[in-house]
Symmetry: C2
Subunit: 432 residues, 2 copies
């Protein structure tokens, strides 16, 4: 494919993407395929000779689309949102074209520097304490990780490294293995200190946990993977109080802040803590400027060596929406969750199972777990809406998460009509 054909195919793809998203409502949100469906639809080996682009695009509809769970359908209420917006998609095209691998400052200074400044912008939107902001003089700062899992792992490894060095300083005779065997990681049943758990969007009391961690010289990592985006709204910011006690903090801007996956924002109070654990300096990665205090080599902040120019997505989205636009997005989705909550509360057959604070409603039919499992099976099978369950204190609960940017009030109303229709049919059956 030469550049002229790319211009043509690129325009076609832009239209394909626009058509897909504009008409997504008309596709069933959950696919009707059996495991292994795809293998039989395509050859067992790659072609020897080139094929035509037309054939590939035909196969996108024939092979791929029938097996897609449409996360951006307005009828998708499962898991948590996967952020998506047009400015982020445009920025990602640019990211692909520049195609730098920004493991060091020199590997592409703009890639590193825009990331540091964008994490400062975002940190300020969240009103993070000054110690997490890089600025020109700070000791802290932010980094884009791929996912919250990686941010948590990095925190754990940095904490482990720091603890071992701390013990070794006063007990140089001890072996690392001996110290390691005594280290303890305290977690809840959702792992670390969490703001907005996955099952029910519950909040740990970090203003209580934090001082204990600080007093006991323990590393405190706070994960706000889903809820973190909402802290850009003043009315939710109080839920982040206590972050000043943390050593590291992370949330997934790729969940709820309109920045396409992957963009997990992580801040540390002391860059030296995280860099110290992973510094790696072969000659081919050294560069003249790295001794300057202004230089960040992000490869020391993460598990992978390579990294994409992901801050472009943040820059495009922050500027195209503005803080007010982003706040409006959060508020709209919380409003839709509240609307769904009201519908559930108005129906005596149902109960709300956890306080609705953000865009997630946990609810169930009053009755047995089996009854709720059957209801969910029928919802899934109908393929009109899609949601997943959770377990809360031994009870089987349905999660209704506001996910798609295109979900409006009438979708919520229709989803509820659908759920109550299936409920009506279920409760009429003799077994119930």
């Amino acid at each position: 494919m030469d550049v002229a054909e790319f211009r043509r195919r690129g325009r076609e793809m832009v239209d394909y993407v626009a058509d897909y998203l504009e008409n997504l409502e008309q596709r069933p949100v959950y696919p009707d395929v059996e495991p292994g469906y795809l293998r039989s639809l395509i050859p067992t080996e790659a072609p020897l000779e080139p094929e035509t682009y037309e054939d590939i695009m035909k196969d996108v509809e024939r092979v791929v689309m029938p097996g897609v769970t449409h996360w951006h359908s307005p009828y998708f209420y499962a898991y948590f949102p996967a952020a998506s917006s047009y400015p982020a998609m445009l920025a990602d095209m640019l990211c692909g074209a520049i195609g730098c691998i920004g493991f060091s400052w020199a590997a592409s200074p703009a890639c590193t520097e825009l990331e540091t400044v964008m994490l400062d912008w975002l940190g300020k939107m969240l009103q993070l304490p000054e110690c997490f902001i890089a600025g020109t003089q700070g000791h802290g700062g932010g980094v884009i990780q791929s996912t919250a899992s990686e941010a948590t792992l990095m925190s754990l490894l940095a904490a482990r490294c720091k603890a071992i060095r701390w013990v070794l300083a006063s007990n140089p005779e001890k072996s690392e293995a001996e110290i390691l065997s005594k280290l303890v990681a305290y977690t809840s049943d959702q792992f670390c200190a969490t703001l907005g758990t996955t099952p029910s969007c519950a909040f740990d009391h970090i203003t209580e946990l934090g001082p204990i961690c600080n007093k006991e010289n323990m590393w405190m990592h706070i994960d706000a993977a889903y809820a973190g985006s909402a802290f850009i709204c003043p009315e939710f910011r109080h839920l982040l109080n206590g972050v000043e006690f943390a050593d590291s903090f992370n949330f997934n801007a790729h969940k709820w802040l309109l920045i396409n996956f992957d963009c997990s924002a992580m801040w540390v109070k002391k860059r030296s803590d995280i860099i110290g654990a992973f510094k790696m300096e072969p000659l081919y990665l050294k560069h003249e400027n790295q001794e300057s205090g202004l230089v960040t080599d992000y490869r020391h902040w993460q598990i992978p060596l390579g990294r994409r120019f992901r801050s472009l997505k943040m820059w495009f989205v922050f500027r195209m929406y503005g803080l007010k636009g982003l706040q409006a997005h959060i508020r709209k989705q919380v409003g839709l969750a509240k609307e769904f909550e009201s519908l559930v509360r108005a129906d005596k057959r149902f109960e709300i199972c956890a306080e609705v604070i953000m865009g997630l409603v946990c609810f169930r039919l009053k009755g047995s777990n089996e009854l709720n499992q059957t209801l969910l099976k029928r919802i899934t099978k109908s393929r009109e809406i899609h949601l997943v369950p959770c377990q809360l204190s031994g009870r089987f609960v349905l999660r209704f998460a506001i996910c798609s940017r295109s979900t409006e009030s009438h979708h919520i109303q229709q989803a509820w009509r659908h759920i109550t229709q299936l409920t009506f049919e279920l409760l009429q059956e003799p077994a119930h």
Copy 2:
């Protein structure tokens, strides 16, 4: 930005990307900026109100481009290639639009199934032993990791988990910490068994290492991050002999196989080894089909939970190039490296420092390390071509890696004229 504006801006971005790549030769390959340059060019906080798209695109040229190291310039010879092709970029646009987070089969069956089949396609291109191919009955199979670092970490964790279980089976009284303290990872000075090291593209003798690992019941991981792509050519395949002894094998298709970052292909002989180490099953991720042998939940194969629909890039590239087109790309770049090698060998002032097997030439001026450091500094400062050094047996060596898809013979000739011109000036100075 509504869908109508996205259609318009999308077309503009396609043209911007096409123009950028078409005219890349005219931009200096290495940026002329000082650390911290970017922060002063943009505001210290995100805007409250939305800005216009025109302003953002103006800032791409004003703020970003002056700080970009252009990895796809035909004058970029640093590190290793970062793969890039038009079909991969088109597929990535589609990936962004579908925007599924394929952590489980149910989260988007097509995302998981296309990945398994694409890794089979690629495994067959490399003529991997049957035990690494998933097929419909296999015990092995492939997965896309983000980077080789993550593949190595996954292997290490899986090996550790397997070793601990193995010791515990016959010594149930031992603690995990005790066993852990006795575990040993054998590495070379480039880490694990490597085919194509980063400094000089050297090859370990895996046909010698493999039988020892197997006999001693050790996990063998082979990393062919750069060189792996070349094994699709029969004339290079012999370098992969011995892979049958490995438990896991990995290479970066995003380096040399025209698939944009990230796409690190990893295969394991026994899926159960890698899954066993990481299985994680909260209720909200369970789905009805997961007990089927045909179902893969890739979240068990990797550190992150979330993952993009990256196999689309593989599918587009394999089909648009065909195996022959991909082989031609590898052969062309190896040919360019051989051409550069000949130029170096014909100049008595220089020496070749490692056998040129693929697309990397390691060379130096006969003389001191300081002399070569000075030469490289001048090359970097001139910004006409870009390369990085390595250290081989204590000697400072220049690496010349064929990177960009757009590099042609005349670029190689021009690069060599430039190097010899700077050498001429350097050697004329009294100090030398």
